[in-house]
C-alpha cells in the first residue's frame, strides 16, 4: 500500500488503540448502498475519520482535536471539514497561532497543490492581524467578507510578520515557480497588509524570477498586478515614468528572447492599460519582423531605447509580425493583410484559420473599392 503522506502519522498507533482517546466514541461512516466511486480507505484513515466524526458529534474543541485533525490532514489534505473544524478549535481554545503558522510552513511545501493549505493560512493570518469583532460567532469565514485587510495602520509587528510571510512565499516559489495557489496567496498577502515597503520589493523579486526563466508567465502576470493592480500611479508625471520604465524593461526582455509570448502579452497589456497607441512601438518592433538577411541592408544605429534582436535570435518573430499588422490595421490594412497571409501560409500555420479570420474581419470594415 503506498505511503501517500510521507513521514505522517503512520508510525503512530491508531486512535482506537490509544488510552487517551478511550472516552471518545468513534462514529463509523455511513456509505450507503451502491456508493459511487468508493475508496479503499487505509486503516489509519478510517480510524482517524471515525474519531473525527465522533468529535464533531459531541462538538469537542480541545488540544487533542488539533492532533486528530492534523493526522487527517496529513492523510488527506483536501479534507476540508477537518480544516474547518481545526480552525474553529484553534480559535475556541485560544491556541497560539504562530505555532500553527509554523506547522503550516511544512505542510505548505508538502501539499503545495492543495487549496486548503493556502486557505487555512489566510484564515490564521487574518485571525492574528485583524480579529473579527467580539460579537461575531467565529463560525463564518472571515476571508469571505470584502473588507478583510489588516488593521488600519500597520504596526511594527505586523510589518515584521508580513516580511517573514513574504520571505516564506519566496522560498515556496523557488520550489515551484508557477504554482497558482502560491501566487494567489502572495497577491492576497500584499493586498492584505498593504504596506508600501512590501510593494516596493516586488519588482526586484519579479525580476530575479524572470532572470531565471524569462518565460515564467506567472512572474509576468505578477509584475502587471504590482504595477497596475494597486493605486500606485500617482499623478500624470508618475504615470509617464512608470510606462517608460515598463516599456524599457519589456523591450529588453524581448531582445533577450524574442519568441516569448509572455513578454509580448505584457507589452500589449501595458499599452492597452495606459491607452498608448501600438504605433509608438513601431521602430522597436520592425527589426524583429525581418529575417537576418533582410536586416543586413539596414543601417546599424545604436538605439538604446530600442534594443535590436541578437544575431542568434530566431527571426522573423511571429509575435512581432502580429504586432506590426495590428499597427497597420488602422490606416494601411493591405499591409496587415499581407502579413496575416504570410503568418497563415508560412510562419504560423497552426493558426492559419485565425489569420484568415483576421483578414476577413478587417476587410469587413473597409468599404468595397470600385
Amino acid at each position: 500500500m503506498p505511503d501517500i503522506a510521507g513521514d505522517g502519522p503512520e508510525e503512530q498507533p491508531l486512535f482506537s488503540e490509544r488510552p487517551d482517546w478511550t472516552d471518545v466514541t468513534p462514529v463509523p461512516q455511513y456509505e450507503g448502498y451502491n456508493p459511487i466511486a468508493p475508496i479503499f480507505y487505509t486503516p489509519q484513515y478510517k480510524d482517524a475519520t471515525d474519531y473525527f466524526r465522533g468529535i464533531v458529534k459531541t462538538n469537542e474543541k480541545s488540544e487533542r482535536v488539533l492532533e486528530l485533525t492534523e493526522a487527517i490532514i496529513r492523510l488527506n489534505p483536501a479534507h476540508y471539514s477537518a480544516w474547518q473544524y481545526r480552525y474553529h478549535t484553534l480559535l475556541a481554545i485560544k491556541a497560539p497561532l504562530d505555532a500553527e503558522l509554523k506547522l503550516m510552513d511544512s505542510l505548505a511545501v508538502q501539499f503545495l497543490k492543495t487549496y486548503q493549505v493556502w486557505h487555512h493560512r489566510r484564515l490564521i493570518l487574518t485571525a492574528i492581524y485583524s480579529p473579527p469583532p467580539s460579537n461575531a460567532s467565529g463560525l463564518n469565514d472571515p476571508t469571505a467578507t470584502t473588507s478583510s485587510s489588516a488593521k488600519s495602520k500597520p504596526s511594527p509587528e505586523s510589518q515584521a510578520a508580513a516580511r517573514t510571510e513574504l520571505a516564506f512565499i519566496t522560498r515556496v516559489l523557488m520550489v515551484d515557480a508557477k504554482n497558482y495557489h502560491t501566487w494567489s496567496y502572495r497577491q492576497w498577502l500584499l493586498a492584505f497588509f498593504d504596506d508600501v515597503h512590501l510593494w516596493e520589493g516586488e519588482l526586484g523579486f519579479v525580476e530575479r524570477l524572470l532572470e531565471e526563466d524569462v518565460r515564467n508567465n506567472s512572474a509576468w502576470h505578477h509584475r502587471f498586478f504590482v504595477v497596475f493592480g494597486r493605486g500606485q500611479l500617482q499623478g500624470e508625471e508618475d504615470r509617464v515614468a512608470v510606462l517608460k520604465r515598463e516599456l524599457s524593461y519589456t523591450k529588453d526582455q524581448i531582445a533577450l528572447a524574442p519568441n516569448n509570448a509572455s513578454a509580448w502579452n505584457y507589452l500589449r497589456g501595458i499599452l492597452e492599460r495606459t491607452g498608448t497607441s501600438f504605433s509608438n512601438l513601431r521602430s522597436f518592433v520592425e527589426p524583429y519582423t525581418k529575417t537576418h538577411e533582410d536586416r543586413l541592408g539596414d543601417e546599424e544605429i545604436l538605439d538604446l531605447e530600442n534594443p535590436a534582436p541578437s544575431a542568434e535570435a530566431e527571426l522573423p518573430c511571429v509575435a512581432a509580425l502580429e504586432f506590426l499588422a495590428d499597427i497597420y490595421e488602422k490606416d494601411a490594412v493591405s499591409k496587415s493583410v499581407e502579413i496575416w497571409k504570410r503568418l497563415a501560409n508560412e510562419l504560423d500555420t497552426m493558426r492559419k484559420k485565425y489569420w484568415e479570420y483576421r483578414i476577413k474581419e478587417a476587410l469587413k470594415d473597409v468599404p468595397v473599392q470600385s
Binding site: 501517500i4 475508496i39 475519520t49 470584502t146 497558482y180 508567465n217 506567472s218 493558426r351
Partner: protein, 371 residues
C-alpha cells in the same frame, strides 16, 4: 496528418476505465474523498458521450446510483444542496430520518452542479429535487463582491463557484437565488491583461476559469440570443480573449492552460469550449487538436493529460467533451460523438432531459391539481 490517419478512439477501453472507477478506487485516491461526486460526474459523462451508459451499466446499478446520489442531498439552515460524498455521513440505525446537516457536513456548490448533471445522465425524474431549498442555498453562498463560496460558511470563492451557481440557476430556470449584476461585475474583474480570465480578480489568465467566465456570461438571464453580441463582453475584450485562447494551442496540437505552459488534454476542453462559446470554434486547427488527444489515450483505457501520462476520469471526460465539440469529417467512425451543450458541459440529449425535468414549472405542469 489527415483525419483518416489517426488511430481509433478506444471507446470500449475508455468506458471500461470509467466503469472501474465508479465501482472502486484504490487507497491512493484518498485525496478525492471530499470530491467523489465530481469523479462520478466525469465517469457518467464519459459513458454518456460514448453512448454506452445503457450498454455498460445495468438498470439496477443506475437505480442504485440515483438512490445514493439522492442520499447526498441534504437540507438545513442554509438551504439545500448536495454533499461531496458520504465522507462525513454518520452511521445511524437503518430507517431513521436524516437530521439537519451540521456546519461540517453542509452541501457544496460545485458538487450540487455535478449531482444534477449526473442524475440527468441517469435519467432521474427529479421528483426529489428540493428546488426552493437550492435557491436558498445559492443565496447563502453569494458574497458581497458577487462571487460565491463552495459552501455557505466558507471555502473557496472564485470563478468556478460563480459558474456553478449560474449553471444551476439556468437549469432550474430560476435566477432568484443569484444577484446577477454583482456576479457579472465579479466576473469582469477577473479579466486579465492577457485576454483570459484569472481564477479571482488578481489571478493569472487560466483556461479553466476563462471557460467558467465565458459560460457564465453567456448563461446570464440577460442574454437571450447566443449569436448576438454579448452585453457583458465588449468587442475589444472578445477580440483579446479569442487571440489569447488560440495562442494557447501548442505545437503539439493540444492547448495549454496558461501562456508558456505545456499542453494538457483538459485545456483542450476549457479553451476549445471557450472558443466555441465565443462562436469561433472553426478557428481551431482540428486535425492537430485531434491528433494530440489521440496520443493522450492510455494503452489500457482512459485518457491522461499528456502522452504517456496515467489516465483519470477528469481528463478522460474532458477530452471526449472536447472531441464532441470539434468533430473531424474524415476521421474514423470511432471518433463520432454526440453533440455537446458547451454551456452546461453535457450532451444535448442530457441537456434536453434537464430542460424537461429540472425547472419548477415542469413539476407544476405535471401536477394534477391546477387552477
Amino acid at each position: 496528418m489527415s483525419g483518416s490517419e489517426l488511430p481509433k478512439l478506444a471507446r470500449v477501453a475508455h468506458a471500461g476505465h470509467c466503469n472501474r472507477c465508479l465501482s472502486a478506487l484504490p487507497s491512493s485516491h484518498i485525496q478525492i474523498d471530499a470530491s467523489r461526486l465530481a469523479i462520478g460526474f466525469y465517469c457518467f459523462g464519459t459513458l454518456d458521450l460514448l453512448g454506452s451508459i445503457y450498454e455498460k451499466t445495468k438498470e439496477i446499478e443506475r437505480e442504485g446510483w440515483r438512490e445514493w446520489l439522492w442520499h447526498q442531498q441534504t437540507s438545513g439552515i442554509h438551504g439545500t444542496g448536495f454533499k461531496p460524498s458520504s465522507y462525513m455521513t454518520q452511521d445511524r440505525p437503518y430507517g431513521t430520518d436524516p437530521e439537519e446537516y451540521s456546519e461540517y457536513d453542509t452541501p457544496h456548490l460545485i458538487m450540487t452542479y455535478t449531482a444534477i448533471l449526473s442524475l440527468a445522465i441517469l435519467r432521474d425524474d427529479f421528483e426529489q429535487l428540493d428546488r426552493n431549498g437550492i435557491v436558498r442555498f445559492l443565496q447563502a453562498c453569494q458574497r458581497e463582491d458577487g462571487s460565491f463560496t463552495s459552501f455557505p460558511n466558507g471555502g473557496e470563492s472564485d470563478l468556478r463557484q460563480v459558474y456553478c451557481a449560474f449553471a444551476i440557476s439556468s437549469m432550474l430556470d430560476d435566477w432568484s437565488g443569484v444577484d446577477v449584476d454583482r456576479a457579472v461585475s465579479f466576473i469582469q474583474q477577473c479579466s486579465s491583461h492577457e485576454g483570459g480570465y484569472g481564477q479571482q480578480p488578481t489571478g493569472e489568465a487560466l483556461g479553466g476559469t476563462t471557460y467558467c467566465a465565458l459560460a457564465s456570461l453567456y448563461l446570464a438571464p440577460s442574454v437571450s440570443d447566443l449569436h448576438a453580441p454579448n452585453p457583458h463582453v465588449t468587442t475589444d475584450e472578445r477580440r483579446r480573449t479569442i487571440r489569447w485562447l488560440l495562442q494557447n494551442q501548442a505545437s503539439s496540437g493540444g492547448f495549454s492552460g496558461r501562456t508558456n505552459k505545456d499542453a494538457d488534454a483538459c485545456y483542450c476542453f476549457w479553451c476549445g469550449a471557450s472558443l466555441h462559446i465565443l462562436g469561433v470554434g472553426d478557428l481551431v486547427d482540428r486535425t492537430a487538436f485531434l491528433s494530440y488527444l489521440a496520443s493522450c489515450q492510455f494503452k489500457f483505457g482512459g485518457i491522461g493529460k499528456a502522452p504517456e501520462d496515467r489516465p483519470d476520469p477528469y481528463h478522460t471526460y474532458l477530452s471526449l467533451a472536447a472531441l464532441a465539440l470539434f468533430p473531424l469529417e474524415d476521421a474514423d467512425p470511432s471518433w463520432k460523438l454526440p453533440r455537446l451543450n458547451a454551456l452546461w458541459n453535457t450532451t444535448e440529449d442530457t441537456a434536453d432531459w434537464i430542460r424537461q425535468h429540472v425547472p419548477l414549472y415542469t413539476v407544476k405542469a405535471q401536477s394534477p391539481v391546477r387552477k
